[in-house]
């Protein structure tokens, strides 16, 4: 692996981490689309900053661009507050307008090779190692590594300092306000960090990948954990993994690095979406099927408990009495037998002691409206689930 290759992977990984942190809070605040808006509307800020500084890596340019990001947020909120349009519409109105101003500015004024719309949208990681940071004559690494590295350090410092404030204001803004943690301050703080990260990152990876790195890793992590700290940690891991595997995918396919990283993000999300242990599609379908069978089982047990009459409990007449298809009846009978809840006596089905206890307790819970408790109880009674 050459030095340049290593540097590209390092930049991509650091960008991924710097994006995953604010991204986690954006996802939890249901503001994913605002990152898309910011990533596009910072373009005029970058262009104007570039005219002033003549340097794409100047801190002033980054601040100017971040300011445009904040203006985007303020404009969206202002339009939304009029009550005339909804938030998503407001976002859709603001960022294309700002973005197109940037496009026109570039077309009219910049013949510079580096500042074209393609570079802005897609970035070019492969060129990142060519732009070196020279301090008193010594080469200390690629410029973009230094920029995004500094941004990451600030982001991490802010995260550690204000984790509690971010958490409480994201979960319950009303409580945060009453406790004296101004939700507006935290909101705009988060927006500022998101904007600065976007500007710092998009030069390396482009506007579209920035959005992908902010949203996809937290969205994936959200499906796997119920703990905010773990969600942050998993987001960072998914981001870094996609960055490195995406790089090698691009290497193998001889394709765009940012495109390949985004593809990896999509693939990982899809896999987790399907196979996540609790919230995944397959787990949900399986659980629904299980619950359906178990509800039928409970219905069947209730029937047995309610009817002492042998005719109602004869195995050959069960179908008629509870109006079920043969297959369904068999599934339920098997499940009840496996769990020792029923017994046969000359083709007459009756509840065992355990079956009776289970049914009585379930009835209690249903009557007192504590249905949720039935799920807990199942762990005690079931040897086999439906």
């Amino acid at each position: 692996m050459s030095n340049a290759q290593l540097e590209i992977q390092l930049i991509a990984s650091i960008v991924a981490i710097a994006c995953a942190i604010p991204g986690t809070f954006l996802v939890l605040r249901k503001m994913a689309m605002i990152s898309d808006a910011i990533s596009h509307s910072i373009l005029p800020g970058i262009v104007i900053g570039f005219f002033i500084t003549q340097d794409l890596n100047s801190p002033l340019l980054i601040l100017l661009a971040a300011l445009t990001g904040i203006i985007t947020v303020v404009l969206v909120e202002y339009i939304q507050k009029t009550g005339l349009v909804k938030e998503d519409t407001a976002i859709g109105l603001v960022f294309p307008t700002l973005f197109s101003i940037g496009v026109i500015l570039i077309a009219k004024n910049a013949n510079d090779v580096h500042l074209d719309v393609d570079a802005v949208l897609l970035g070019e990681l492969a060129f990142a190692p060519f732009d070196r940071m020279i301090i008193s004559g010594a080469d200390v690494g690629p410029k973009s590594l230094w920029i995004i590295g500094s941004i990451l350090l600030i982001t991490i410092a802010l995260l550690f300092a204000f984790f509690k404030e971010l958490k409480v204001s994201t979960f319950d803004a009303g409580l945060a306000a009453s406790l004296g943690f101004s939700p507006a301050v935290i909101h705009y703080g988060l927006m500022t960090v998101s904007s600065i990260t976007t500007v710092g990152a998009f030069d390396a990876v482009g506007a579209i990948l920035v959005v992908a790195l902010m949203i996809a890793p937290p969205a994936t992590a959200y499906l796997l954990t119920t703990d905010l700290k773990k969600m942050l940690l998993y987001s960072v891991c998914f981001g870094v993994f996609s960055a490195i595997s995406g790089y090698w995918l691009a290497h193998g396919l001889d394709a765009s690095i940012s495109g390949s990283i985004t593809t990896m993000l999509g693939i990982i999300f899809l896999l987790v979406y399907l196979f996540a242990p609790n919230k995944g599609v397959i787990a949900v379908l399986y659980r629904e099927k299980q619950q359906r069978t178990e509800v039928l089982l409970l219905t069947f047990l209730l029937h047995l408990k309610n009817h002492t009459d042998e005719r109602e409990r004869h195995v050959n007449h069960l179908n008629e009495h509870i109006n079920w298809q043969k297959v369904r009846s068999k599934t339920v009978l098997d499940l009840a037998l496996k769990n020792n809840m029923i017994k046969f006596n000359k083709n007459i089905v009756s509840l065992t002691e355990k079956g009776d206890a289970f049914t009585s307790q379930a009835i209690d819970y249903i009557i007192t409206n504590e249905d949720a408790q039935i799920e807990d109880m199942k762990d005690d009674f079931f040897l086999f689930r439906g």
Binding site: L28, K30, G83, A161, F162, F163, K164, E165, K167, V168, T170, F171, D172, G174, L175, A177, S178, L179, G180, F181, Y222, T225, T226, D227, L228, K230, M231, T368, N369, E370, A372
Partner: protein, 265 residues
């Protein structure tokens, strides 16, 4: 709370009842007007809530009950008027006040546990940047115990029933160890068992000398649960002891329809 006692001593006293007993005013609202999009939802409210009452705020939908609480707590900015807690602005008295928002106001799918939500109640005393430690955790566990939710401390909050979620919110307020508790419809969507558990905790708070202010919907239970009531419908209709003012007259004035209640007695 030491700080609390001092504040109480300095505040204005007011006479309530006819027993010549003086009780400090816990919450005082003066000429409060709040508007959404230039439409007033609260109009020139004057309100004095004496210390140690368990008070219901009742009124029809859209009467501004939640708005009143939120304005007292500084969550909403009024267009006119002022609020004081024991004689001082809310900003200076945050630590004396705990707030239980409506259960529906938060996203219960948020990745966090019951214990963690209760810990949030301790953040106010910690202030910015400082992190909760063992002491805060211990307090949170005690609060969970009080509402009977200790066995569920590590549950993800989306896996709690509506009643359990409400108890978690209550525990979060208890952990603040405040003097005044504001609750926005704590009985909404909870089962009978939880309702009784909650009202018992509120009554215990009052017994301990705390002031409890509850936005309440169920008129039937007002005389049984509360000793003080405020009728609100954009304007304040009346406020006072339940036994004196909870009658058909004020109910009719508040709800606009002819109220024939045989509720009390």
């Amino acid at each position: 709370m030491k700080e609390n006692k001092q504040t109480v001593n300095r505040t204005t006293k007011v006479m309530i009842d006819n027993k010549n007993k003086t009780t400090p005013i816990a919450v005082k609202v003066d000429d409060l007007t709040v508007a959404y999009n230039y439409k007033p939802v609260l109009w020139d409210i004057d309100l004095e809530i004496p210390e140690g009452v368990l008070m219901a705020i009742v009124g029809p939908n859209g009467a501004g009950k939640s708005t009143l609480i939120k304005s007292i707590l500084g969550i909403l900015k009024p267009i006119a008027g002022s609020v004081s807690i024991y004689g001082k602005p809310y900003d200076k008295q945050r630590k004396l006040v705990a707030y239980v928002p409506q259960k529906g106001s938060v996203d219960w799918d948020f990745p966090t546990t019951a214990l963690d939500v209760v810990m949030m109640g301790t953040y106010g005393n910690l202030g910015w940047i400082k992190r909760p430690g063992q002491k805060q955790k211990k307090e949170a566990l005690e609060a969970l115990e009080k509402v009977g939710m200790l066995p569920f401390k590590n549950r993800q909050i989306s896996q709690l029933s509506g009643g359990q979620q409400q108890r978690i919110f209550l525990a979060r307020a208890l952990v603040q160890n405040a003097s005044i508790y504001f609750m926005d419809e704590p009985f909404q969507g909870v089962d009978a068992t939880t309702e009784i558990a909650i009202i018992n905790i509120l009554k215990a708070l009052r017994k301990a000398g705390k002031t409890v202010i509850v936005v309440h919907h169920d008129l039937q239970t007002v005389p049984e649960y509360f000793d003080w009531v405020t009728f609100l419908n954009v304007k304040k209709i009346a406020t006072g002891p339940v036994k004196d003012i909870f009658n058909d007259d004020y109910l009719t004035k508040t709800y606009g329809i002819n109220y024939k209640v045989s509720i009390h007695k």
